[in-house]
Amino acid sequence: MGGVKQFLSHFFVTGPFEIGGDVSIGLVSLAILFVLTRYKLWGWLWRNWLTSVDHKKIGIMYMLAALLMLFRGGVDALMIRTQLALPNSQFLGAEHYDQIFTTHGTIMILFMAMPFIFAMMNIVVPLQLGARDVAFPYLNAISFWLFFFGAMLLNISFVIGGSPDAGWVNYPPLAELQFSPGPGDNFYLLSILISGIGSVATGINFLVTILKMRAPGMSLMKMPMFSWAVFATCIDIIFAFPALTIALGLEFADRILGAHFFTLTGGGNPMMYVNLFWMWGHPEVYIVILPAFGIYSEVVATFARKRLFGYTAMVTSLMLIAIASYFVWLHHFFTMGAGADVNTFFAIASMFIAIPTGVKIFNWLFTMFRGRIRMTIPMMWVLAFIPNFVIGGSTGVMLAAAPADYQYHNSYFLVAHFHQVLIGGVVYGMLAGMYYWWPKMFGFILEERFAKWGFWLFNIGFYVCFMPQYPLGLMGMTRRMYTYPAGLGWTSLNMISTVGAFVMGIGFIFIVLNILSSIRHPVKDTTGDPWDARTLEWSLPSPAPHYNFARIPVIDSRDQWWEMKQKGMTKPDDSTPLAPIHMPKNSGKPFIMGVLFFIAGFGFVFNWYVLAGLGLLGVIITLFARSFDYDTDYYIPVDEVKHSEAAFGRS
């Protein structure tokens, strides 16, 4: 009995926040179970969502997960800021503080930004290309469930076993077994390894989709800019993620097999990890920012009612950024002391990236120049992004100057810089995309009143929170600092920053309220084209039917739908006869595979190798079961297509 008690006290983390976490997780789970059972929704959930291979539904699930993770990561952020508001604060314990900043970073990059871009890719790309789904819909579902269960694995660490606390970069030797015993660090490694498999699969999936499934007539140079951005992102995903897999895999081998890759003894070399990590890590920031650039391009052109300025330059700069992103990783650790020659190369390469990025900023401005701009919510997020990103980019160039970086390195100056590009760039972009494509996803428009409150609070809160951090960094405050003594002159700036963080938090609440109130009082989008937009997805009804296009359109210009409207068309050409539509069947296997990966991961976290082995065996059995399954697709008969098109007032 005593043994069980001791085991449980290690297994479940105890502390006021954790017990709060336990209670709220328990209550929310019970509420979900109750609602699903009370309204008999289990079958609906399984048939329509958990087993779906429809890219639009997978995209919506990615988006909901990303918003949830934004909430979780945001709560972490507020706890960090509360701890730092006053000197000598004891609000959080030091160890707990380390866990919070670690999970904040990990969740925001890997389990918020990544699923948010995957959400937008899934919802939009096939519709923009005139395709009926992605190239590999079944694989797409696997990607989602691996992400989802990877994220769950990291999140339960808060209440079971203890969270990782070696920072989101998880550098050795701190992250090695010697200095981080216990399961916390394994949670980090396993959750990212599992979701990483899904990310690579998504990269491959969308690259093939974009290369091979564009509607007839859509040459690459007639492809909408968002799809171009996704194309560049996919190249980065495919060629960058393996480096992360190896970095984390080798660290994992150090921890469970006693290997000596990054240890201080046995000939290991910790800097090898840092190099491998950032060979992924730098392309990763472009992986998340490029789709946001794509969204800005679509939104600006629509609401300025002009063709996107400098399409070719936009494509060129996207590809330049995608490729140059592989030659800058060392700027994350100039202070390693690689020598002036190496640092010079990486400093110049990093500064070079400012050129194509600047080209893009100017092209968005020129698109707006003399346009008839409509101040809708998506457009407001774009307009807020531009000054934000210009400041973030300029401080980035300051950081890229290697000699000066010895001063800025790992200070709050850096913290302010990367939050400015990641929030001002990526999060603003994803929110713009969410507001812009929301009607296409759900068939109604998000109302503007709360949305504007959310926008202004979040934006003002952003500057109040992060501008003080630049001077704090210059005054010597370093990143990941648990607390600081009074009398350094940091107190008022820290307090201001904390106030700003809470204003952003209130802004987020308004965005959630905005969504809830719009669900209660939806403004229906009956035309399918509420913004008078330019690209193909707006030629479809909202929400789009599950087969997307009854007839695959033939493309002859970049802004295909806009040009069709100029010719007086109000819906796509429906004079040609319909044909049966070939579609993939739903499958429960991707979900099951996610569960099995979760079980295997959980086993590895606690070094329960029998459980881990069983999980992996299950994964392999599922893979072979799929291989032997030949009943994977079906045809929608013409009558059914006719019937469902008629419901949209089309034929």
Partner: protein
């Protein structure tokens, strides 16, 4: 998937009338697999880089020179290269629509793959019994991880190939089974290419000092 029925049989000029490319779905999956191989190549590139950084860090333990056994790795190399050739013949027989002969050559490939894996396991066990385990030194960690990752790939390939053979027996040569056989072949040849680099970077440079 999700391809317009009118386009489902695309005869691409590049690929003539090859069965595996005869449906759009097949062509998409083959292209997707090429991208998978590209990312797998980067994965191995990172392992090679790690090995090159760590291969002299023996921490007082055995070095490559002391461990590697020339006849052993020469035999592994010979067997794996031959298996790539025999799979090439299997693909050739598939193109000529000779299912039985194709299955025989696939079977030979599987046997060669099994002997490769057994030899590698024997090699690993010999090292471990000499005290050269993965936790002995950074060099050995990098060695076992690089060569072992390749060995795991080969092991998975063997099971995969057997499953494709079963499907070929059950369903004959169809666009779907031909595509599966072609893709497992791509995978097998890719592992052969990786082995050529392991042979050169790990074994040859290890014993030639």
């Amino acid at each position: 998937m999700a391809v317009d029925v009118n386009h489902s049989v695309v005869k691409s000029a590049d690929h003539g009338t090859m069965l595996e490319y005869s449906t759009e779905d097949g062509a998409l999956k083959i292209l997707g697999f090429w991208f998978f191989l590209a990312q797998d190549m980067i994965l191995f590139a990172c392992l090679f880089a790690t090995y090159l950084i760590l291969h002299n860090r023996t921490a007082g333990g055995p070095s490559a020179m002391q461990l590697f056994d020339v006849p052993g790795f020469a035999a592994e190399t010979f067997i794996l290269l031959t298996s790539s050739f025999t799979y090439g013949i299997a693909t050739f027989q598939m193109r000529n629509n000779r299912l039985k002969s194709m299955l025989i050559w696939m079977g030979i490939t599987v046997l060669l793959g099994l002997s490769f894996v057994s030899l590698e396991l024997k090699e690993f066990i010999t090292y471990v019994l000499q005290g050269a385990t993965i936790s002995r030194s950074a060099f050995l960690s990098a060695f076992f991880t690089l060569v072992g990752t390749h060995g795991l790939h080969v092991t998975l390939g063997i099971f995969w190939m057997i499953s494709v053979m079963i499907q070929l027996v059950k369903r004959g040569l169809t666009p779907v089974t031909a595509r599966k056989a072609f893709i497992v072949g791509l995978y097998w040849h890719f592992l052969d290419v990786i082995w050529v680099f392991i042979f050169t970077v790990v074994y040859l440079t290890g014993v030639m000092k």
